[in-house]
């Protein structure tokens, strides 16, 4: 029998955050996770997260996971990996580790089991090579195996868009992202990252059928009506060796059903979720939840929920006085409020502003044409995110206390240092020098692919949809520690293309594809 004060199921962002918070005030905590690695899904999130400084914005998910795990260990939390929680019998958890079953007796249980990917069924969907997008992400970012060479992504939500980008980073070709809905579901900045690298996003399309013998070889896609029925004679056959399904997530609530927690259905949150109070405590006293199991949201939200659950559990054990606990919970709740500000409620940009790419005070329009580089912010959705403001030493970018505000540029003091380009998790800020030379403009782009271009190299300059605009010459490549593996690539292009060019393609053989067989 394993005894502890708090047992946490799941060592992802929610579980580890809960563990840290409760261990910090002196609770004895054991975290169980069936995976062999800590951090849950964070281990494969190689992109920078949104949010503000407190949410570790601008830090890559994978590093947030490592930080959380280290912190948990330093606080005396015991993390048992490879340990499956498989049952709940008379208030005790049954676990199995290394083919040996044990029983866990805990005063409080925090369930942070995360989510499960949804699937989409179409004829041929069982062929090898068709997999969950999360599965593909695990293969490439955790196990470092390329899922396939020609990949079709199904679903243009954030998961589909991010993983499509990561497939490109890993060296795969992403043929297209198909999305049955009439518009892209994920953030525009995520969509832009793949669009400008030549991946089309086909909205109003679906997969009709996958074909192949021992693995998927071809896929037939077709246009759909608003009721998702296929429009005849719009079918197209495409060669593909991999199809990734990114069609949403469902909270992994199986343990909570076993515990007989009261559940309710919330379609926006992914399905059945446990009823909970402000302390993240379920209908069963002493059982708490946090993270995706409580409803599908972002990892940063999972961590805040984990904090609340962790501190509430510690409070009920008497490890922290309620005044102090309330303070911590309030802070987490405020943070949650900010993170949950729905982009669709925030003011949209006007068409005019859009062409200027970033909100700029009217009086400063003329500065756009001054000499030297100025930032172009192509962030026109109200994302809860503000690293561009935080990173600017000169206070040129303002987001304000409501972090979903669009960034406001004040160019008076801007030196064109490019820190905002590196800090933007959405890779949506560029530097543009319209008067680099008599005929040329210079644009500085955030770049996260291999091989890195070299100074003096000729590259192909691409527009926002990944189409070739012109040739460009690399003026400079900067890879700094602060940029955290995001490089700054500055290229010179003909002046008339200054507002078009937003990406580049190297013409050299791709060294990232070494070992190809």
């Amino acid at each position: 029998m394993i005894e502890t004060e708090i047992a946490i199921v799941g060592a992802g962002p929610a579980g580890l955050a809960a563990a840290c918070e409760s261990a910090q005030v002196g609770s004895k905590v054991i975290v169980f996770d069936e995976n062999n690695h800590p951090g849950g899904q964070l281990v494969k999130q190689i992109h920078k997260f949104f949010g503000s400084k407190e949410h570790l914005a601008g830090v890559r998910g994978i590093d947030i996971g490592k930080k959380l795990y280290k912190r948990a260990l330093s606080l005396g939390v015991e993390v048992r990996l490879g340990t499956v929680v498989w049952g709940y019998f008379e208030n005790q958890l049954a676990v199995v580790f290394n083919n040996q079953v044990e029983v866990v007796s805990a005063k409080k249980i925090i369930v942070a089991t995360g989510a499960l990917e949804n699937t989409l069924s179409f004829p041929g969907w069982t062929l090898p090579g068709i997999m969950g997008a999360g599965g593909a992400q695990t293969l490439m970012n955790l196990y470092r195996i390329l899922p396939g060479k020609k990949v079709l992504m199904v679903g243009a939500g954030n998961v589909g868009l991010i993983i499509a980008y990561q497939l490109l980073q890993a060296g795969a070709e992403v043929i297209a992202v198909v999305e049955a809905a009439p518009k892209i579901g994920g953030y525009k900045v995520h969509a832009d990252k793949i669009l400008r690298n030549g991946v089309p996003i086909l909205t109003g399309h679906t997969v009709k059928e996958a074909l192949g013998k021992e693995r998927v070889e071809k896929v037939i896609i077709a246009q759909v009506r608003s009721d998702f029925s296929i429009i005849p004679e719009t079918e197209r056959e495409i060669d593909a060796d991999t199809i990734c399904l990114a069609v949403g997530l469902t909270p992994l609530t199986e343990l909570l059903w076993l515990m007989e927690c009261e559940m309710r259905y919330e379609s926006d949150l992914g399905g059945f979720i446990p009823v909970r109070n402000k302390n993240m405590e379920t209908s069963i006293s002493g059982i708490y939840i946090a993270g995706d199991v409580a409803g599908i949201e972002e990892a940063s939200i999972a961590m805040e929920e984990g904090r609340i659950a962790g501190i509430a559990a510690a409070e009920s054990l008497g490890h922290i006085i309620s005044d102090k606990a309330r303070m911590i919970k309030n802070r987490a709740e405020e943070s949650l409020l900010q993170l949950r500000l729905n982009p669709s409620f925030a003011p949209r940009m006007t068409e005019k502003n859009k062409t200027n790419n970033g909100i700029i005070k009217n009086s400063q329009i003329e500065i756009l044409n001054r000499n030297g580089s100025i930032p172009i912010i192509e962030c026109n959705e109200c994302i809860p995110c503000n690293p561009c403001e935080t990173v600017c030493l000169f206070g040129c970018i303002q987001v304000g206390t409501t972090i979903t505000n669009l960034p406001l540029l004040n160019l008076d003091k801007c030196t064109g240092c490019g820190q905002c380009v590196l800090a933007c998790p959405g890779l949506a800020i560029f530097l543009l020098d319209r008067n680099y030379s008599k005929d040329e403009a210079a644009i500085t782009l955030p770049y996260e692919f291999l091989p890195l271009p070299k100074k003096g190299e000729k590259v192909i300059a691409l527009d926002r949809n990944g189409s070739k605009v012109c040739e460009g010459e690399v003026l400079n490549v900067i890879l700094t520690k602060k940029g955290d593996r995001t490089a700054l690539v500055k290229i010179a292009i003909p002046k008339e293309h200054a507002d078009k060019v937003r990406s580049i393609k190297t013409t050299r053989l791709d060294s990232g594809k070494e070992g190809e067989n």
Binding site: G87, N99, T119, G124, L211, T250, E254, Y265, S267, G271
Partner: protein, 110 residues
């Protein structure tokens, strides 16, 4: 291209190879819950215990019967939540795949 398998109907339950058609037929035969569909068709009875198909089947059930999706509960979770080797519970330490006296392989070759 080989699509003869596809012509046998679109699968919804991967483990038990149950088609959408079979699920719809079960509903026409009176099934109103995921459990009943499972009992009739075996959809959700496989090794994964319905984790891949229950959402798809819920949607079909809602579509066929008009039952609101928030009223369609999972077919019921039961321990163990993952496949567990019997020895893990019944016996002291023993590692999977080690020193087997009785081999399955022979049974597979039959």
């Amino acid at each position: 291209m080989d699509n003869s398998k596809n012509e046998q109907g679109k699968l919804v339950c991967r483990c038990e190879e149950v088609t959408e058609e079979e699920v719809r037929q079960a509903i026409k035969d009176g099934a109103k819950t995921l459990r009943e569909i499972k009992m009739i068709t075996r959809a959700g009875m496989g090794l994964c215990q319905g984790r891949s198909c229950s959402k798809i089947i819920s949607l079909i059930l809602a579509e066929e019967t008009g039952i609101s999706i928030d009223k369609i509960e999972p077919a019921g979770y039961r321990p163990p939540l993952r496949p567990i080797a019997i020895s893990a519970l019944a016996k002291a330490k023993k590692k999977i795949g080690k020193k087997l006296k009785y081999k399955f392989s022979s049974a597979y070759n039959e």
